[in-house]
Amino acid sequence: MNALAPTGGGGGGGTDDLKEPPKRGRWVPYALLAPGMIWLVVFFLIPMLVQGGTSLQTGGLEKGYEFTWHFSTYWDALQTYYPQFLRSFGYAAAATVMCLVIGYPLAYAIAFKAGKWRGLWLVLVIAPFFTSFLVRTLAWKTILADNGIVVDVLNTLHFTDVTALLGLTEGDRVLATPLAVICGLTYNFLPFMVLPLYASLERIDPRLHEAANDLYADPKTTFRKVTFPLSLPGVVSGTLLTFIPASGDYVNAAWLGSPDTGMAGNVIQTQFLRVLDYPTAAALSFILMLLIVLMVSAYIRKAGTEELV
């Protein structure tokens, strides 16, 4: 315990450089940091280093693996599986946009219009979490089944004709198409969008709406100039909380998609558990992580880091 604590403090940002005031209870911050630090070191940092090592190994199951600084695994993996990466980010982006489109009005209604029913609505938003992720995703298989009510209605409305033109569906089917995967992702990650949006909308002082009204802004302008800008922290954290896990997801693509809709997560799973090509699987994991970090930091820089919820 004691041996680890200073490591944690050092990692937390130069606490050691400070002049130490001879105060009692100086160990308290370290003690508070320790559980989290130990957890992260044992279950995140060490596995990641091991993984990094694995990605640079060569060999096979029979002969065993050897550490050879074999960086070209990365290049080969990227060249072979770039379609899956593109799909991952494409589907995740589409699902994030859908979540925002569905989630913003929902969060807005809960924050400003639900009155005493707020609590109930929030419970309903997180209610899906009471059931297993897998069960919920499987349920979508039934919902989107061929000749099911949903697909019949979409066909009758010629909705599937439009999505087929966009390459999101094939023929009269929805299941086993990109649309099905995007729907699954949207459904599964919607609460991650709604909750931060709600939190930032709910914090807006209703008197600011009155002030805007008083200063000649009609309801539309009030939303555009006051409500929406003030909810931006929620939009940023909601999109991050949706996009990041969605781009690493493989369950939705596995259950609701087809071999043609595989995402990066599916490839990693296959490489690890079926092909047993550990170096490639590890390299793919690192590539996914790096790409997400790059995209997210670019996004945050653009959206502004201040006041992130």
């Binding site: 002082d205 008197r207 600011l208 009155e210 002030a211 805007a212 009204n213 008083d214 200063l215 000649y216 802004a217 009609d218 302008t221 100039k225 006051v226 800008p229 003030l230």
Partner: protein, 379 residues
């Protein structure tokens, strides 16, 4: 109807039978009120008296249950707030936290489609002495500065009426005094009708030309600060604006424009025209500073002043410019007396027997109302 016809000037505000109920709870009883253009009008009352609701109905932020709001003779009752020629300085200011001070001030002009806002914004910030802070965010300003931004943001639109909802409530005492004078200066400078809602009687008296005292959703009395202070017409007004001693009396007759009355066995007089009550039960009020106090042994006949013998000082506190005495009457009521510190009589200490007397013309007569009679039976 006559209300509507009189409402000619551009900044007049007329309330016609205006009331507001939330469910079965009537917050503002039907009220008729005319606020003349260019005046500094204060609505004064304790919290929950309906003053803020009245203001919000003028702004359009609250829909009246009955009645009309007319601004400059035009019925605006059905108009949403963003179509009314009024602006509001909100309690706690409600500045937009994501916009700079200059953009906060420019907000109204931009909504009206003005492109060249820089000049007016600069001018307005100069008026409130914040010319150098246009680039800051509201959170980087002190309370007093935020308050002035709120005033600038409203005034820049040249509204016909400026509504102020407890605008100084969040400031400390010293800053509040300073801002009172500042607001008064600005009002004189721009000449716009100000409607100022406050619970602070001193604030209302310092700033307003006319004060409406509200209590329980009703305007109890309307008048100039001096009017309200010298001739309150209800117990609530008598006690809300300054302090009053209230004495229960029984009318015994009239003589030469004066009511003659019996106050616990002592004969007193009160001008008929300063009495807002009818019948033989009248409560006589007298302000503490109008009462003279003398040691019992030094008291002379006092001519035809109202005079009470047999008082005993129970408490005296020295406040610098004056001394405040609490005197117990023979009938156990306690009366407060403020005495200027000119020639202090050192015999006036707790326990001393004293005589109180005052000019009958300084008293005022009120109707006895059991509901608000708490002060009269304080004893």
């Amino acid at each position: 109807m006559s209300e509507q016809q009189r409402a000619g000037a551009s900044g007049d505000v007329n309330l016609v039978g205006l009331s507001k109920s939330f469910g079965s709870n009537t917050v503002v009883q039907p009220t008729d009120l005319t606020i003349p253009a260019g005046s500094f009008f204060a609505v004064l009352g304790a919290s929950g008296c309906g003053k803020t609701t009245t203001l919000r109905m003028i702004a359009g932020l609250e829909e009246p249950t009955t009645g009309q709001v007319l601004i400059g003779g035009q019925d605006v009752t059905g108009l949403p707030p963003y179509k009314r020629p009024v602006n509001t300085v909100f309690q706690n200011y409600a500045l937009f936290p994501h916009l700079s001070v200059a953009e906060n001030v420019a907000f109204g002009l931009r909504r009206k489609g003005r492109k060249d806002v820089d000049g007016p914004v600069k001018e307005m910030l100069e008026l409130v002495e914040l010319g150098h802070l246009g680039g800051r965010k509201p959170a980087q300003l002190s309370g007093g500065q935020q308050q002035r931004v709120a005033v600038a943001r409203a005034l820049i639109n040249h509204p016909q009426v400026l509504l102020l909802d407890e605008p100084l409530g969040a400031l400390d005492l010293k800053l509040r005094r300073q801002m009172q004078l500042e607001l008064k200066r600005i009002q004189t400078e721009v000449g716009i009708t100000f409607v100022h809602v406050t619970h602070d009687q001193e604030e209302a008296m310092t700033m307003a030309d006319t004060i409406a005292v509200m209590n329980g959703g009703v305007v109890e009395q309307l008048g100039s600060p001096a009017d309200l202070y010298e001739s309150p017409r209800t117990k609530f007004v008598a006690n809300f604006l300054g302090q009053s001693n209230l004495l229960d009396t029984r009318i015994t007759g009239t003589s030469g424009g004066y009511l003659l009355m019996d106050v616990h066995g002592t004969r007193m007089a009160l001008p008929v025209d300063r009495t807002a009550a009818q019948g033989d039960q009248v409560v006589m009020g007298i302000r503490p500073e109008k009462i003279a106090i003398q040691h019992a042994s030094a008291a002379d006949s006092n001519g035809n002043r109202n005079r009470i013998d047999g008082g005993v000082i129970v408490d005296s506190s020295f406040i610098g410019v004056s001394t405040q005495y609490t005197v117990r009457m023979p009938w156990a009521q306690e009366i407060t007396v403020f005495e200027q510190n000119m020639e202090r009589d050192h015999r006036l200490v707790p326990g001393a027997p004293v005589v109180l007397h005052w000019n009958p013309d300084h008293g005022f007569g009120l109707a006895p109302e059991p509901a608000t009679a708490s002060a009269a039976v304080k004893a």
